[in-house]
C-alpha cells in the first residue's frame, strides 16, 4: 500500500522543495524528475491494483488526522486573513461557518474516532490517479517553459514561480489524496486544499481582475465546502461512532443514511465542478496562466467535483434528489454548450465546453444507472486528455500569435502546422465520431432512454450534442482555412512543450483505440462491483469504430495523391481580381482585405442571456433539492 502514501506525500515534498529553489535549471530538473517519478508511481500503482478491485487500507500513522485538522485551521486562518484584507466578507463569513462546523465536528465527535480504513483504492480511483499522475504532471512540465515565456511577455507581473510550482505540486498531492481517501474527513481536508490552491493560482498575476476572479472561485467553492462540512456534521450526528465516515461504508449503508450527505456532498461537487449557478468562477479562472486553466479544467479541481458525484452516484439512483442533480447537469450541458457558440475567446470556449461536459457527467451520475456511470467515467477520461491538449495548444498559440481569440487563429494550419494538427485532433476528440467524447455521449443516449425521466436527458443530449458540433467545427474550420499569406511562426516553440503536446495528442488517439481495454480492465469491473451489472459497447460497434479511426488516420495520406496534377487558382471573389494576400479592389477605390469570421449568433446564444436563464433554472432546481432534503432530514 506504500504507493498511495507515496503518491500523496511525494508531490508535497517536491512542492516544498520547489518553494525553496530559485535557480531555474535546478527547478527544471526537480520538476521533471518529480513528474517522472509521479508518473512512474501512478503506473506502478496501476499495475499493482488494476486487477484487485476494491482495497481498503488503514494508515498506521496515528496523528495524520490531527495534523490535517491543524492544517485545515491554518488554511481557514489564511483565508480569513486575505478575506478581511481584501474586504471580501462573503468569503470570511463562509470560512467562519465552515470552520465552526468543522471545529464542532472535530471537538465533539471525532476525538477518539478513527475510522479503520482511511485510504482505499479501486478502479475508479486508479483512473482518476492516472489522469492526475499523467496529465497533471505533463501540464507541470509544460508549465516550466510556459511560465518562462509568460514572464518574458508580462514584465509587469511579479515572478512568483516558486510559489506557482509549489502550488502545482500541492495541488497534485491534494488530488491524489482526494481520490485515495476513504475517510470523508480526509476527503474534506484535501478538498479544502484544492480550493486554496485554485484560489492562489487563479490570483497568480495579482491584477485586480485576477484577484476578483480568485475570490469568486473561493467563495463558490467555500459554499460547497460549507455543504460538505454540513454533510460531515450530519453523518456524525446520525451516528456518532463515525463508522459512516468511510465512503465505502456509507455507500453500502443504504438510502436512509446516505442520501442526505450524498446530496450535500453532491452540492459541494456541483460548486467545484462549476455547474450552472456556479459556472462563473471557472470562466473567471481564465485570467490565470494557461497551465493553471489546463490543470483546473482537465485533471484536477473540476474533476474532483465530478469524482465525488460519480462516487455517490449509486446513492442517487432512482431518487428525486439525484434526478435534480442530474437535471442541473443536463441543463448546464445544454446552456453552456449554447453559450460557447457565442464566444470567440478560445479559452472561454474551452471553459464553457468544460462546464458543459462536466454537466453531462453530472447528469449521468445524478441519474446514476450503471450504464450511465460507465458513460460518466468514460467522459471523465476522454475529456481530461482532449481538454488538456487543447488548453496547452491554445497556450502555445497565444504566445506565438499574441492572441487567444479564435478569429486570430485563422490559417493556423499555415502558420503553425504542427500545433494546428494537434489542435485539430484535440477538437475532433471533443465531438467527432469515432473519438472518445462522442462514444461516451452515444453510450449516454442509449443509457438515458432506459432511465427514469430519461427522455428529458435524451432531448438535452440530442440538442446539446448538435450545438457542440457547431462551435467546435467552426473553430476547426477557422484553423484549417489556408491563408495564402500566412507565415510560419512555430519554430520557436520549446522542445519540452513539443514533448508534452505530442504525448497528449498521442494519448488522445491511443485512448480512443484502446478504450475497449480501459473499459474492460477498469470501468466495467468498477461498475460491476458497485452495481452488480455493467454496460459495454457491442463488439461490432467497437470494431467499426476502430476501423473508422484507422480510416481517419489513413485519409491524410490521400494528400500525396494530389501532389501534382492539381492546378491552384485563387478563390472566387465575385470575379474581382485578387492578389495573393487576398486583397481586392473595393468600392470607392479602396483596396480591401478579405476578412472572414465565424458566426456567433449573439442574438440567440448570447452569454448574458443564457447565463441568466441557466442560473435561474439551476438555482431553482437546487432550491427544490434543498426543500426535498429538508423534508428528508425532518
Amino acid at each position: 500500500m506504500i504507493e498511495l502514501p507515496f503518491l500523496i506525500i511525494f508531490p508535497a515534498i517536491a512542492a516544498v522543495l520547489l518553494l525553496f529553489i530559485a535557480n531555474e535549471t535546478l527547478r527544471d530538473a526537480v520538476v521533471k524528475i518529480a513528474a517522472l517519478l509521479i508518473g512512474a508511481g501512478t503506473l506502478y500503482a496501476f499495475f499493482m491494483y488494476f486487477q484487485s478491485g476494491l482495497q481498503l487500507f488503514s494508515v498506521p500513522f496515528e496523528p495524520a488526522s490531527q495534523i490535517m485538522f491543524v492544517l485545515e485551521l491554518f488554511i481557514a486562518l489564511y483565508i480569513l486573513y486575505v478575506g478581511i484584507r481584501c474586504r471580501r466578507y462573503l468569503a470570511v463569513l463562509l470560512i467562519i461557518i465552515q470552520s465552526v462546523l468543522l471545529i464542532y465536528v472535530e471537538s465533539v465527535f471525532v476525538m477518539g474516532i478513527h475510522p479503520e480504513f482511511n485510504l482505499f483504492i479501486d478502479q475508479f480511483s486508479l483512473i482518476m490517479a492516472m489522469i492526475i499522475g499523467i496529465i497533471g504532471t505533463l501540464i507541470c512540465v509544460y508549465a516550466l517553459r510556459y511560465m518562462q515565456t509568460y514572464h518574458a511577455h508580462h514584465a509587469e507581473i511579479t515572478d512568483r514561480r516558486r510559489l506557482f510550482f509549489f502550488m502545482f505540486f500541492v495541488f497534485l498531492s491534494a488530488m491524489f489524496g482526494l481520490v485515495f481517501s476513504n475517510n470523508l474527513l480526509w476527503v474534506f481536508f484535501f478538498w479544502e486544499i484544492t480550493t486554496l490552491c485554485s484560489f492562489i493560482l487563479i490570483g497568480y498575476s495579482q491584477t485586480k481582475e485576477a484577484t476578483k476572479n480568485a475570490f469568486l472561485a473561493l467563495e463558490m467553492n467555500l459554499l460547497g465546502g460549507v455543504a460538505f462540512a454540513g454533510a460531515l456534521f450530519y453523518l456524525l450526528y446520525v451516528d456518532p461512532s463515525g463508522q459512516f465516515l468511510g465512503i465505502e461504508q456509507l455507500l453500502t449503508s443504504g438510502y436512509a443514511i446516505a442520501l442526505v450527505p450524498a446530496v450535500l456532498i453532491g452540492f459541494a461537487g456541483i460548486t467545484k465542478a462549476a455547474l450552472m449557478p456556479f459556472s462563473s468562477w471557472l470562466v473567471g479562472a481564465m485570467v490565470a496562466p494557461t497551465p493553471v486553466s489546463a490543470l483546473l479544467h482537465s485533471s484536477t479541481m473540476v474533476k474532483a467535483g465530478v469524482y465525488i458525484i460519480v462516487r455517490f452516484a449509486p446513492v442517487y439512483t432512482g431518487t428525486m434528489e439525484g434526478l435534480i442533480i442530474g437535471l442541473v447537469g443536463g441543463f448546464t450541458f445544454l446552456l453552456a454548450s449554447a453559450i460557447a457558440i457565442s464566444q470567440s475567446n478560445a479559452k472561454k470556449v474551452l471553459a464553457y465546453s468544460t462546464i458543459a461536459n462536466l454537466g453531462l457527467i453530472v447528469a449521468c451520475a445524478g441519474v446514476g444507472t450503471y450504464k450511465l456511470v460507465w458513460a460518466a467515467i468514460m467522459l471523465i477520461i476522454f475529456h481530461a486528455i482532449a481538454k488538456s491538449l487543447l488548453f496547452l495548444c491554445v497556450g502555445t498559440v497565444e504566445h506565438r500569435i499574441g492572441s487567444r481569440d479564435i478569429e486570430d487563429m485563422s490559417g493556423l494550419i499555415v502558420r503553425m502546422p504542427k500545433i494546428a494538427v494537434m489542435m485539430f485532433i484535440g477538437i475532433a476528440g471533443m465531438f467527432l465520431a469515432p473519438f472518445g467524447m462522442l462514444i461516451s455521449k452515444w453510450a449516454a443516449i442509449e443509457a438515458f432512454i432506459e432511465a427514469q425521466f430519461g427522455l428529458i436527458f435524451v432531448a438535452i443530449l440530442a440538442f446539446g450534442g448538435s450545438i457542440t458540433v457547431l462551435f467546435w467545427s467552426k473553430w476547426m474550420g477557422k484553423i484549417i482555412s489556408v491563408i495564402p499569406s500566412g507565415e510560419k511562426v512555430e519554430d520557436t516553440v520549446k522542445k519540452e512543450k513539443w514533448f508534452v503536446l505530442y504525448l497528449l495528442t498521442a494519448l488522445t488517439v491511443i485512448v480512443c483505440l484502446i478504450f475497449p481495454l480501459i473499459s474492460s480492465a477498469l470501468i466495467e469491473p468498477f461498475v460491476m462491483s458497485v452495481y452488480g451489472q455493467t454496460a459495454r459497447l457491442s463488439q461490432d460497434n467497437i470494431m467499426i469504430m476502430a476501423m473508422m479511426i484507422f480510416l481517419l488516420m489513413l485519409m491524410p495520406f490521400s494528400l500525396l495523391l494530389y501532389r501534382d496534377g492539381v492546378k491552384h487558382v485563387p478563390a472566387y471573389m465575385g470575379g474581382r481580381p485578387t492578389t495573393t494576400d487576398m486583397r481586392f479592389q473595393g468600392s470607392m477605390g479602396i483596396t480591401r482585405e478579405t476578412e472572414l469570421s465565424n458566426y456567433y449568433f449573439e442574438e440567440y446564444f448570447g452569454e448574458k442571456r443564457l447565463l441568466m436563464a441557466g442560473t435561474a433554472l439551476c438555482f431553482g432546481l437546487i432550491l427544490l433539492a434543498g426543500v426535498l432534503l429538508t423534508g428528508v432530514v425532518l
Partner: protein
C-alpha cells in the same frame, strides 16, 4: 478582434445577371456596412450624339437598356420632337403608349421572375418568365424585335399595327390576365414569400422623398410619383391612377409591380378601344435647336432624357437620367442592417437596371 466578414458581392454574381458591385461587411449574417460602386457597364453612349445624327441616335437611345428599350427611344424622340416643335399624329402617340405599356408588362414580369429567383423560388421564376414570353411574342409580332423593338422614330413610329392585330391583342389579353392573376396570388399571398419580403428593406416615406426614390420604389413607400400622370403620349386620354402602397418594404414594392401589371393591361385595353386612325409619322425637317427635359415613366420609374440641340444635325448634349440611378441612394439606405440573405432581395426590389443606369 472584429467578427466581421468582408465579402465582395459582384461584379459577377449569379443572383444579379448584371454586374453590380457591392462591398459587404457582415457580422454573422447582418450587413453592417455596404458600399456600392458602379462603372462595369459604363459605355459612355451619351457622347455618341456628337458622332451620330439625331435621327440615328434613336437606335443608340434604345440600346441604353434592353429591357425598357422602347421607352428610352420614345422619351428621346419626344424630347427632340418638342425641341423641334413637331406635332406627332395621335395614332402614333397611341401606338407608342401601347408599346410602352407592353414594355412595362414585359419588364415587370421579368423583374418578378428575377425577384422570385433571388428568393430561391425557382418555379415562380419559370412561371413569370413563361408569361413574359407572351408579351415578347406580341412585341415581335408588332415591331419585329423581341427585346429591342426599334419601332420609334423622331416624328412618329415606324410601324403601324393594323386593326385586326389590335383586336387579337385585346382578345389575347384575357387569357394572359387569368394566368397573371394566378401568379399574382402567389406573390401576394404565399407566406413563404411574405416571410422573405415583409419588413425587409424598409424605406420610409420621408427617406424615399429625401433620397429621390422614383417609380415603384417611391410608390411602394407611399410617394405617388407617376410621370404618366403628366399625360405625355396618349396617357392623357386614358383613365388610370398610380398604384401606391404604404409599407415601404420589399413586399410593398413587389405588390406595386404586381398590381401595375393589371393596371397596364387595363390601360392597353382602353388604348386599343380608343385608338384613332390616321397617319403614324410626320416628316422631319430641319435640325433641333433648343433644349428640353423629356420625362416619362419607365417600368422602374421616372426617366429623364435631356436633349439640347444646337441647330446642326448633331445634338449638343444628351443626358439620360435613368430611374435606377436615382434609386441607388434609397438602396444604400435600405441595405443598412439587413441580412445577407436579404441583400439580393433588396437590391432587386428597386429593379436595378445597371445597363441603363451606367449608360
Amino acid at each position: 478582434m472584429s467578427r466581421q466578414i468582408v465579402m465582395p458581392f459582384g461584379p459577377q454574381h449569379p443572383v444579379l445577371p448584371e454586374p453590380i458591385h457591392l462591398d459587404l461587411v457582415l457580422e454573422d449574417e447582418t450587413v453592417v456596412d455596404v458600399i456600392p460602386s458602379i462603372g462595369y457597364v459604363h459605355r459612355g453612349l451619351e457622347t455618341l450624339v456628337e458622332k451620330r445624327q439625331f435621327p440615328e441616335y434613336v437606335y443608340i437611345a434604345e440600346r441604353t437598356c434592353g429591357i425598357c428599350s422602347f421607352i428610352h427611344g420614345m422619351t428621346y424622340c419626344q424630347g427632340v420632337e418638342r425641341v423641334m416643335g413637331l406635332e406627332v399624329p395621335e395614332r402614333a402617340h397611341y401606338l407608342r403608349t401601347i408599346w410602352s405599356e407592353y414594355s412595362r408588362l414585359h419588364s415587370h414580369l421579368l423583374w418578378l421572375g428575377l425577384f422570385a429567383d433571388g428568393m430561391g423560388f425557382e418555379n415562380l421564376f419559370m412561371n413569370a418568365w413563361k408569361h413574359r414570353e407572351f408579351v415578347l411574342d406580341v412585341m415581335e409580332e408588332t415591331t419585329g424585335g423581341r427585346v429591342i423593338q426599334g419601332s420609334c422614330k423622331v416624328g412618329g413610329v415606324r410601324r403601324d399595327i393594323d386593326q385586326e392585330t389590335l383586336k387579337k391583342m385585346e382578345r389575347d389579353l384575357k387569357g394572359f390576365e387569368k394566368g397573371l392573376k394566378e401568379m399574382a396570388n402567389v406573390f401576394l399571398n404565399d407566406d413563404s414569400i411574405a416571410s422573405r419580403l415583409r419588413g425587409v428593406g424598409v424605406l420610409s416615406r420621408n427617406d424615399a422623398y429625401v433620397c429621390g426614390a422614383v417609380g415603384p420604389t417611391g410608390r411602394g413607400s407611399g410617394v405617388p410619383i407617376d410621370i404618366r400622370m403628366t399625360g405625355y403620349a396618349a396617357y392623357g386620354e386614358v383613365d388610370f391612377s398610380p398604384v401606391v402602397e404604404e409599407d415601404g418594404d420589399c413586399y410593398a414594392r413587389c405588390a406595386v409591380r404586381v398590381n401595375e401589371l393589371f393596371s397596364s393591361i387595363e390601360i392597353i385595353r382602353q388604348l386599343i378601344d380608343r385608338i384613332p386612325g390616321g397617319e403614324i409619322e410626320v416628316k422631319v425637317k430641319g435640325n433641333p435647336d433648343g433644349e428640353y427635359f423629356s420625362r416619362s415613366e419607365q417600368p422602374r420609374g421616372e426617366l429623364v432624357h435631356y436633349v439640347k440641340g444646337n441647330g446642326t444635325k448633331y445634338l449638343a448634349r444628351s443626358r439620360i437620367r435613368t430611374p435606377t440611378l436615382t434609386n441607388i441612394p434609397p438602396l444604400v439606405k435600405m441595405l443598412q442592417g439587413c441580412e445577407l440573405a436579404d441583400v439580393p432581395v433588396i437590391v432587386l426590389s428597386i429593379d436595378p437596371c445597371i445597363g441603363c443606369m451606367e449608360r
